[in-house]
Structures are given as C-alpha cells and as structure tokens.
C-alpha cells in the first residue's frame, strides 16, 4: 500500500499544496515552522480521521480560512486508485469520503489504511501517567479486535456505575452489598477477559520490541516491559471481595484492570528515572516499530510509516541503525522530516533505495511553489 498523491487546501499553514510521493522514502526538509510536520499530520488524518497532535479539528483550519480539505490517492493492491477525502468546514460536522462516498461511521474507516507515526511526543508514553500507556496498548489491540473494544467500553461503564453507587451509599446513608456485588461481578467477567487479552498481546509484542531495541542500540542495554496488574495476584473476583471496605471509604473501585500499568525497564531499572534522553527516545522508537511489525503481521501488508524528527538526540550509531532498517526495505512507504537537508542527502543519496526529497520553505502560495523535489 502507498500514498501516491496528496492535495491540501487550507490545512494548517498550507493555503494550497500538492505532493506526488515515492512509494518508498520521502523526506521533508526545511527550517522550523515551515510545515513539515503538518504534512505528516495530513497523512495521519487520512488514516485515522483525526490529527495526531490536536484533538480540535477546527483548529487545523488555516487562520482566516473557513474550511480545510485533504485529498489522498492511494494504491492498495493493484493499479486501481483509491481516493480518500477529509473535509472540515467551520462549525460543521467533519466529512470523510472513500471514493467520493461518505462513510456512515468513521469507525468503519479506521484500520483500512494502517499507519504508524513516530514523533517526539512519544516520550509522553514514558513520562505521563499510566492512563496513557493503557490507552496506547488498548488502541493497538482494539484496532483488530472489536470485541475487545466492546468489553473495554462495557467495563468502563460498569466501573462508572459502581463508583457512582459507592458515592451514593454515603450521600443516602445506606449500604446495599447485593447491588454493589452485581456491579463487581460485571467488572470481574469483563476485566478477566481484558486482562487475558492484554497478557496475550504483550507476550507477542514485547519480543518484537526487544528485537528492534537491540538492533538500534547495538545490544548495549537490555530493555523490558513489565505488565503490572493487580490480577497477577489472583482472580479478580477474590480481590474485589477483599477490597469492599477499602472501596467504601475511598468512594471508588480500588482494584481492577483500570489500575494496570506498563513498567518500562532498562537494565532492570525504571527508564523514566535512569534512562538518558537518547535512550528514552530509542525505547519509544522500538515500541513504535514493534507496533508497525505487529500491525503488519495481523494485517498482512505494511502500514505507512511516519518519522517525525526521528534523528534528533540519537547518536550516530543509532541513526545509522535506524537508516539501515529503513533502507533494507523492511518497511513500505516511509515519510521523514528533518531540518538538515545536507545530512538527509548524505544519508539517502548514496543508498540505492528510491527516495524523494521535498524542500519545504514556508511559502506555499501556489500549488507546488516553494517545493522542489528530486
């Protein structure tokens, strides 16, 4: 699968823009603030119907314009072009079209044109709370397992109901163990499934991740992910029974898979505290490449790979290793942003792999003005 052409109207800083891509490697080079990452985000939009960075669609409309439109032409299998369009007018519903026909539900589109984005923001995965790590894990699993997503949604509803019940006991000064119990049992049934699915997924995912990390780092550090869950201690039903008194004073459910976390380790120590910036960056790159590989395995074809500012903070050896991965054709179509045109040329010009370099200079006044390509 590859994206052949993208056409932008009023998307972020682009009044208009049209780009024809290589089906292998595409590099966007230019100074800060010229719109390199915005181009990646436009590609992200076409796969996920939303921005990687900004949850507000309206804020992605160029200042003073009243709509944005992104159009992409893809080749998935044979020679037939498949066209995706995303149109957002101010104060209107977002429209998403496949071959000019609007989707009934955006959820039907997600996963059809798979994509993995590696961005400097990925370090949030290390530094932010456990919620982000759970959401990341869940999003990778749920992409291919709608029953998992359904279980997760229902678990969260049951959790919300149970927490509301715990609070109402205090407000209304009564306690009804039986009603609390039935919500606990719903959480037990769903939570046990979710725990099992997360365990199975990580058993498959962690070796992939370790493989990529040791390739990038040259085997210097040993990394691991530790799935932390209260459910390792025993069945959820018993844990919830023991926790009733604690839950009643805390006014929320203190045990369950909503307390799960992923611990990131480097040589046995927490990465968050002991890893350098470069080590942390290598770690999240390996996580994302493992996601790429997992997606490819399940899907049967290679997702598009977006690499935003990936070489920053990595030492020369690690940069070389990432480039070896990219150039050895393990990936399909790749998009890379970088501020240094010279270094990008030095890296890719000697390689035999097909590549295209787009010089972006922030003056996108015409359809392709300001953009030169090889």
């Amino acid at each position: 699968m590859h994206l052949h052409k993208i056409v932008l109207h009023n998307f972020k800083n682009y009044p208009e823009g049209e780009f024809v891509f290589s089906d292998k490697i595409n590099c966007f080079v230019g100074n800060n603030g010229v719109g390199k990452t915005n181009l990646l985000d436009a590609i992200h939009y076409l796969s996920f119907c939303k921005s990687y960075f900004n949850p507000s669609d309206a804020q992605n409309i160029r200042h003073e314009a009243d709509f944005f439109a992104i159009q992409g032409n893809y080749y998935r299998q044979n020679d037939t072009i498949e066209q995706l369009q995303c149109i957002q007018k101010r104060n209107q519903r977002k429209k998403f079209l496949y071959n000019k026909k609007e989707y009934d539900r955006l959820a039907d589109h997600i996963g059809q044109f798979p994509l993995v984005m590696i961005s400097p923001y990925d370090r949030d995965l290390i530094n932010d709370g456990s919620d982000l790590r759970r959401r990341y894990t869940d999003s990778v699993i749920a992409q291919f397992d709608k029953l998992y997503l359904d279980d997760l949604i229902n678990y969260n509803k049951a959790l919300h109901q149970r927490n509301t019940l715990l609070k109402s006991f205090v407000e209304k000064r009564y306690f009804d163990a039986e009603t609390l119990d039935i919500w606990s049992e719903q959480m037990v049934a769903l939570g046990t499934n979710i725990f099992q699915r997360r365990s199975d997924f990580l058993k498959e995912f962690i070796p992939l991740f370790q493989h990529y990390f040791s390739f990038i780092s040259g085997g210097k550090e040993k990394v691991d992910m530790n799935y932390q869950s209260q459910l390792h201690a025993g069945p959820l039903s018993g844990l919830m029974k023991q926790a009733v008194e604690r839950d009643r004073s805390a006014l929320f459910s203190t045990v369950g898979i909503h307390k799960d976390d992923l611990e990131f380790l480097m040589d046995g120590f927490p990465l968050k505290r002991y890893g350098s910036q470069g080590q942390q960056k290598s770690f999240v790159i390996a996580v994302k490449l493992a996601q790429f590989e997992y997606t490819r395995k399940v899907n049967g074809f290679k997702p598009i790979l977006l690499l935003d500012d990936i070489f920053d903070k990595l030492d020369d050896h690690r940069v070389q290793q990432v480039i070896r991965l990219v150039s050895e054709n393990s990936f399909g179509q790749v998009f890379i942003t970088d501020t240094q045109e010279d270094s990008i040329r030095k890296i890719f010009d000697p390689l035999e792999i097909d590549h295209k370099i787009f010089r972006i200079n922030g003056d996108q006044s015409g359809s392709s003005a300001g953009i030169s390509s090889d």
Binding site: L149, N154, K157, H160, Q161, L165, E178, T179, Q186
Partner: protein
C-alpha cells in the same frame, strides 16, 4: 414570542411546550390549531387527557398500564399464566405484543438498575416479581431487557434472586438480524454471534 395577545393562550402554550420534543414554536402552532377547532372537539381532547391521567392504573399483577385492577393480558384465559416475560417498560410490552408470537404474560420492571440515573433494585418492581415467582405457579421466566451493560447487570441481579426457585430462567436470543447479510453486520454482534452459536435447528 413574548407578547401573546392573550394570557390564556400564553398559558396553554407554556403547558404544551413542556411535552417531550415540543418547542415553543410548535406549541404555539398546536395551541392555535386547538383554538380554531370547535369547542366540543377540544373538550373531548382535554377530557381524554385528564381521564387518562386520573383513571389509568397499573395492573396489580404485572404493573402494565390498565383500566382495571387486572390488565387485559393478565385477565385473559387464553394466555399462559405460567410463563412470564420480564421487560423494562410498557413500550416493550407493546413491541412484543405486536409480534403476535408470545402467549405468556408479562412483568414490567419500570426501569433497569443504573446508579448513574439513581435507580437501584428497590426502585423497580422486583419484589412483586419475586412474590409471583415464589407462588409455585410459574414454569418459566424470560428475561427480555436491553442488551446494554445496565440491562445485563439487571438480568444478572434477577437471575441471582430467582435461581433458588425451581423455575426455568431464559433470556431472549441476541445476534444477527433476520434477513441481514453477514458482511453488513457490525463486528461486535457478529463476533458474539459466533461465540454464542447454537446447535442447528430449523428456524421457527
């Protein structure tokens, strides 16, 4: 819309606008429509509404709405009184009655368990269901509640309450709609239909 030429009209509009789905413009249109109609017709309309509110009662057995102490369904000798279908509210009774496939009787819960909406088991007609079930006259109880987590939880609660009694407890089937193509079925329904498949039988 503030200056009504008549306080009486304004009052009627205010009342009509309290109805679900009715805004002030629609309420005004309705009020003017009533104003144009003959007095006798509007009186019939008003009387129907008032009598409905004052005289309709809830069936003492199944909590369905009724004009008499016992509703037509519970009172009918042709219905099998030993089979009880448990539903959330009266609209569900009407929906199942419209299928013309069910010959048992009903029990209307009046809601489902949902702490977020402030509804607990004590707010529902559950005790009266237990009393009915304990009478020894029931053979089967069919749970026909919504397929949401709240519906499932209520099913589960009822099952726990009813299972000590010697009664068959069943649940309406859920799965692919009749006449649907598999490829157009949503993944969750299709996935659960595969997991909860049933032995082959000819469709009744």
């Amino acid at each position: 819309m503030h200056n009504f030429p008549s306080r009486l009209l304004e009052k009627a509009v205010n009342e009509l606008a309290k109805l679900p789905g009715i805004g002030r413009k629609t309420a005004l249109r309705m009020a003017l429509h009533l104003l144009r109609n003959p007095v006798s017709e509007v009186e019939a309309f008003g009387t129907a509404v008032i009598r409905m509110r004052q005289e309709v009662i809830y069936c003492s057995r199944c909590r369905n709405i009724s004009d008499k102490e016992l509703c037509d369904i519970c009172a009918s000798p042709r219905r099998e009184a030993s089979i009880v279908c448990v539903v959330e509210d009266i609209r569900d009774v009407m929906a199942i009655e419209n299928t013309a496939q069910y010959s048992g009787v009903y029990h209307v819960l009046g809601g489902i368990i949902s702490p977020i909406d402030g509804i607990g088991p004590q707010d529902l007609n559950i005790d009266s269901l237990i009393v009915r079930a304990s009478s020894g006259e029931l053979k089967e109880i069919i749970l026909a509640l919504p397929t949401t987590i709240e519906g499932d939880t209520t099913n589960f609660y009822l099952f726990k309450k009813l299972s000590p009694l010697q009664i068959t407890i069943s649940m309406i089937a859920r799965g692919i709609s009749i006449g649907d193509e598999l490829e157009h079925t949503d993944e969750v329904t299709l996935g659960r239909s595969i997991l909860n498949r049933t032995p082959y039988q000819t469709i009744k």
